[in-house]
Amino acid sequence: MAEVKRVQRPLSPHLQIYRPQLTSLTSILTRITGNAMFVTVILIVWWLLAAASGEGYFRVANGVLTSWFGDLVLTLSALGMWYHLLAGLRHLYFDSGRGLDIPTAEKLGIGCLVGSLVLTILTVILL
């Protein structure tokens, strides 16, 4: 009785063992897009501060943000932001205890991916 039995318990496999799935991919993308926003925040706050500081400094910041590189970063930011927003919406739905079965979760994941692309194209067209 006192003897402790060493049982070979099944271990959860490491992340790299798993085949990438739509559900895991869309989940990690939510985290990446959310945390990557710190780059966008730096650019936007810098631009606002430059605009508040005077015309000379504004030209510098505005030049960077409206250059091809600025356009690229801000368009990717919009894509990331829209994705994060849609994925957040999906998480609020998940948190209510709904949509957690695999077919629904995958459909919602595709919805986030496609939706963010559509919204980004719409943003680029409108602005």
Binding site: I44, L48, A52, N62, L85
Partner: protein, 123 residues
């Protein structure tokens, strides 16, 4: 005999250290941001690329200025809490603490600088 209830003795011992407040505050800020972020994308996007005088004029209007201020405040608090969860997942010990402090400093500094700029632009 200890006068602590079982619940009280267990509180704070889990891996998350505290209760569900963090999660609940993420939900509150996320719902707010559902409205703020689209409003910010279209107001800021419309201001960007304008001439200096037009930008000053645009941000002296209440709607774009208030949307920008709210988005920075709520968005960066949401960022701080989200970044904290990511750091807690991947970093440990002193690195974890240092990164959480850095993320917190970054968030509040960005809020302060952004609000300073917006006030100066608006006035």
């Amino acid at each position: 005999m200890r006068y602590l209830t079982d619940r009280k003795r267990a509180a704070g011992l889990g891996s998350s250290k505290s209760g569900t407040e963090h999660f609940w505050h993420m939900q509150i800020s996320s719902v707010a941001l559902l409205f703020l972020v689209p409003a910010f994308i279209f107001t800021f996007g419309s201001a960007l690329g304008r001439r200096y005088e037009d930008v000053l004029d645009y941000y002296s209007h209440p709607f774009p200025a208030v949307v920008a201020a709210l988005t920075l405040i709520v968005g960066l608090i949401h960022f701080k809490n989200g970044a904290q969860v990511m750091i807690e997942d991947y970093a440990h010990g002193i690195t974890r603490k240092a990164l959480i402090i850095a993320a917190t400093c970054f968030s509040y500094c960005s809020i302060a600088i952004g609000l300073f700029a917006l006030v100066k632009l608006a006035l």
